[in-house]
């Protein structure tokens, strides 16, 4: 039914939007008397120029992908999860606790156990807003954001007190960080780069989420509930339970992202007092990666890599052409704004396309929906 041009258009739109953002960024650069070509060359070089650069890009992309997978699930159920930051933190705290507690257990037990614990922790942090939304009609955007704030406070408290590295305590330097994980618990790396096994895990999970959404009963129900809760209810699907499940799973993937960040990259938790100090904003950027990937788990894989490249490359660019770091942040912001609004625009376009098609092909449905909506409007 969809024409090839439309398919292409949908696939290329996020890229187009990102390019437009870079174009606007070029104007900024020119105002600062920097040649945008030099700057962007440095960006590409920084992201893909050397094997190590590529590895760094992938390391950056990994938490984006994991968070993004959860976002895909949430969007299918028509809920929005802005709580990725808090879910990552809670997942990381629980996962780190496992590693710091069972120090003499073998790695092949502790690592999966830590991941599972982090998964459950994130699920809890996502599930609470889910329950609030489904059963008490609390807006999930507000509640997930508030859960972020709570998670940060818990992290700061734990890392300054109960979980603080005994070494820090002994030296009285009091840097708020945990002890480092045992060597045996660290995810295998592709030396000399920082690329770790978590990246592969994330890609495998993208396939798993795809199968989950389109080949399982749970996935079918999540999609049904997201597209039409009324019809789902009429068909006997317990709508509220699946709304909760979607937010819960969404949080679980963010929690896992937190664990992977600790076990694959940092080997300990450390806080500068803010959430982004630990997450690097992956909880938010994962949403953009998912949108960039068309809210499809498999599309989110390349989208995360591209977005990771932008983040890594922008740092290199900053150093190469000596622009303030605020500009790099602004550039990221531009990409986010352009991609998100292009998604919005795409949906509107799609609706219009549908309406046109219906008018041309079958005059009936349009008119009936009008009748149906007016009827239901009358009852409200």
């Amino acid at each position: 039914m969809k024409r090839l041009t439309d398919v292409l258009f949908d696939a290329l739109l996020p890229l187009l939007a990102a390019s437009l953002a870079l174009l606007v960024g070029a104007v900024f650069l020119m105002v600062m008397r920097v040649n945008p070509l030099t700057a962007y060359a440095a960006l590409v070089e920084g992201a893909f120029g050397t094997p190590n650069a590529v590895a760094e890009t992938l390391v950056k992309a990994t938490p984006l992908l994991l968070v993004g997978l959860g976002i895909c699930i949430a969007f299918q159920a028509n809920v929005i999860n802005i709580g990725g930051e808090g879910q990552m933190i809670v997942g990381a705290i629980l996962g780190t606790l496992v590693g710091l507690t069972f120090t003499d257990w073998p790695g092949w037990v502790v690592i999966p156990l830590a991941m599972l614990t982090g998964f459950v922790g994130g699920a809890l942090w996502g599930g609470i807003p889910g329950v609030l939304k489904a059963y008490f009609n609390v807006n999930e955007i507000l509640s997930t954001v508030m859960m972020n704030a709570i998670a940060v406070q818990i992290m700061n408290y734990l890392l300054r007190g109960p979980m603080i590295d005994p070494v820090q305590k002994a030296m009285a330097s009091e840097i708020p960080q945990t002890a480092a994980l045992e060597m045996a618990f660290r995810l295998p790396r592709w030396v000399p780069t920082r690329l770790h096994l978590g990246t592969l895990l994330a890609v495998v999970l993208a396939v798993v989420v795809h199968v989950f959404l389109w080949h399982t009963v749970w996935g079918y129900r999540i999609r049904a509930v997201g597209k039409n809760p009324d019809a789902s209810r009429y068909a006997g699907i317990p709508v509220k339970r699946y709304t909760v499940l979607a937010l819960l799973l969404s949080g679980a993937f963010a929690g896992l992202a937190g664990v992977v960040q600790v076990y694959g990259v940092n080997y300990r938790m450390i806080t500068d007092g803010s959430a982004s100090g630990f997450t690097g904003n992956a909880g938010f950027n994962g949403i953009v990666a998912a949108l960039f990937g068309g809210l499809h788990p498999l599309g989110t894989v390349p989208a995360s890599v591209l977005f990771g490249a932008l983040l890594v490359g922008a740092n290199k660019m900053q150093r190469a052409v000596q622009v303030p770091s605020a500009l790099v942040i602004a550039l990221n912001g531009l990409v986010v704004v352009f991609v998100v609004s292009s998604e919005y625009w795409r949906r509107r376009r799609q609706r219009r396309r549908m309406a046109l098609q219906r008018e041309a092909e079958a005059p009936r449905p349009v008119q009936e929906t009008a009748a149906a909506s007016s009827a239901s409007g009358g009852q409200d």
Binding site: V217, R223, A362, P365, A372
Partner: protein, 522 residues
């Protein structure tokens, strides 16, 4: 008819009024379709001429040609005997032709008066004096019984009121001939009556009206003449007085339509669905059902008649398990299901064809196949251990598409691309393929054209013969009378009476539906 006294209408001061519009030999081709095939049509001042036909017959196309929105490939148009060329709606308006479209063309964020002023061909832009427009609108409104506040915003108005604005807009611009494209499709029965009153008044004032519809009883109720289109061709024109529903239906679908379906006598079995003193509340918390008791037996159709809004919606939801009862019991196959979930009731053998199928019966964005397993996706053979088995789902879907003659390009086509009749067939296929023991059918043919309606009714009868207990909820008395073995009437959440079909007449049902109690006989 020339003698009808009429004040000149806004912009139509100079040209003579339209006495007769005639379309001759109109041909219109669209890529792959011959939408109008040498169609002749005419309308005179003071008459209501209905254009009847199934969806896709070419009614809208023909009238868009008259209104200048399409150019005919062949044929000519004459007004008062003189050939005219109508190159655009602007020309049509200048000639005195107006049209109210199936989809309204109003700006939601502007007021009624502003909307009328906006489209004026001779408008001085936004400088038009809105107070003058408003005053004129009030005059017109009083004359034709079209009361709308000129200063109200469009978004504040109901669909029925918006339609009045469209009619007023056309009148304001001096329409002598007004085309109404399926105006009743979006209206409640009461609003339809009001619209008909307005149309009659307009005809009395010397306007010519074209009334497009695919509903036989409406067309027979309001028209002076009726023209039937089928597959782009004109089948015939008849004065309304000289034709019958049967003849019109035959013209529309091209074959005999059975209004009195062949029914074997019912062989009722045991009671499969029973409601006992059921009370329930509406969404607003007001009492909606106040002690409903009903029994439906295997092998019979119990028709529930009533004016819309007397508790039918709530009754259906109570039976389906979607609305809690505040008192009373619901029994399904001898089991008390008063507290059971919708899914549990379905598993016992309840099928449900919901009233608002677009909203409650289907997921528009899901494919045809996904919609066909909406109820049973979690059971073998469609899924095992939580995993869906698509090859089985698609094979099952193809079988149903064939058996129920669902017109769709493929099993993977999103439902929203299908026509209303085919969407209802999806619901029907899904519900009936499960060989249900009890069928709850709410307004199963509302909005469907004749062919699809006949199809749905035959399927329901088939189920009854098979031994299912059918509870048919319908506001269409004809439907109730044609299908039911017994008839119950609901009024303000109470059952007024239950009677065998043979004892029911339209008059008796009508009185009961209006809440008139029957005296005990003897």
């Amino acid at each position: 008819m020339n003698s009808v006294p009429s004040a000149p209408l806004a912009t139509a001061s100079t040209r003579p009024r339209i006495q007769h519009v005639e379309m001759r030999g109109i041909v219109k081709r669209f890529p792959g379709v011959l939408a109008n095939d040498h169609v002749d049509f005419d309308v005179q001042a003071g008459e209501i001429h209905a254009l009847l036909g199934e969806n896709g017959a070419g009614k809208t196309t023909l009238m868009k040609i008259l209104y200048g929105m399409y150019q005919p490939d062949e044929g000519e148009i004459r007004i008062n005997g003189r050939p005219v060329r109508i190159a655009s709606p602007r020309d049509a308006i200048a000639l005195g032709i107006g049209m109210v479209h199936q989809h309204f063309m109003l700006v939601e964020t502007l007021t009624v008066a502003e909307n009328v002023a906006l489209g004026l061909p001779s408008s001085r832009g936004l400088l038009t004096d809105l107070d003058v427009v408003a005053r004129r609108l009030r005059e017109l409104g009083e004359r034709y019984g079209l009361v709308v506040d000129p200063h109200a915003y469009i978004w504040q108005l109901s669909v029925g009121q918006q339609q009045r604005v469209e009619i007023l807009k056309a009148l304001y611009r001096g329409a002598d001939v007004l085309i109404l494209d399926e105006p009743t499709a979006v209206l409640t029965p009461q609003e339809v009556e009001e619209l008909f009153a307005v149309m009659r008044q307009m005809a009395r004032e010397g306007h010519g009206l074209v009334f497009i519809s695919h509903k036989l009883h409406e067309v027979l109720a309001i028209s002076d003449r009726i023209t039937v289109l089928r597959d782009g061709r004109k089948i015939g024109t008849r004065p309304a007085r000289e034709t019958t529903k049967e003849e019109l239906a035959r013209w529309m679908v091209g074959r005999e339509v059975r209004f009195h379906l062949e029914k074997e006598p019912a062989r009722p079995g045991p009671v499969l669905l029973e409601l006992e003193d059921v009370h329930a509340e509406s969404d607003r918390g007001t009492p909606a059902l106040q002690g409903v008791s009903l029994q439906v037996r295997a092998g019979e159709i119990l028709g529930l008649a009533g004016v819309s809004g007397n508790g039918q919606r709530e009754l259906a939801q109570v039976v389906a398990g979607l609305r809690p009862v505040t008192r009373g019991r619901v029994r399904l196959l001898d089991q008390d299901v008063t507290e059971a979930s919708p899914a549990a009731r379905m598993d016992l053998g309840l099928a449900y064809i919901p009233e608002e199928r677009m909203k409650d019966g289907l997921i528009q964005e899901f494919t045809v196949a996904e919609n066909l397993i909406l109820r049973d996706h979690h059971k073998p053979p469609f899924s095992r251990k939580g995993f869906l088995h698509w090859p089985t789902v698609y094979a099952h879907s193809r079988r149903l598409i064939q058996a129920f003659r669902i017109k769709t390009p493929s099993v993977k086509t999103p439902a929203r691309y299908l026509s209303g009749g085919n969407l209802q067939k999806i619901v029907l296929a899904r519900e009936l393929a499960r060989e249900p023991k009890v069928i709850l059918a709410a307004q199963p043919t509302r909005g469907l054209d004749i062919g699809a309606t006949e199809y749905v009714r035959e399927r329901l009868l088939e189920q009854r013969t098979r031994g299912a207990a059918v509870l048919l909820i319908s506001e269409d008395l004809d439907e109730i009378l044609v299908l039911s073995d017994r008839i119950a009437v609901i009024y303000e959440g109470r059952i007024m009476a239950v009677m065998p079909r043979e004892e029911a007449t339209v008059e008796r049902l009508g009185l009961l539906m209006a809440g008139v109690e029957e005296k005990e006989k003897g």
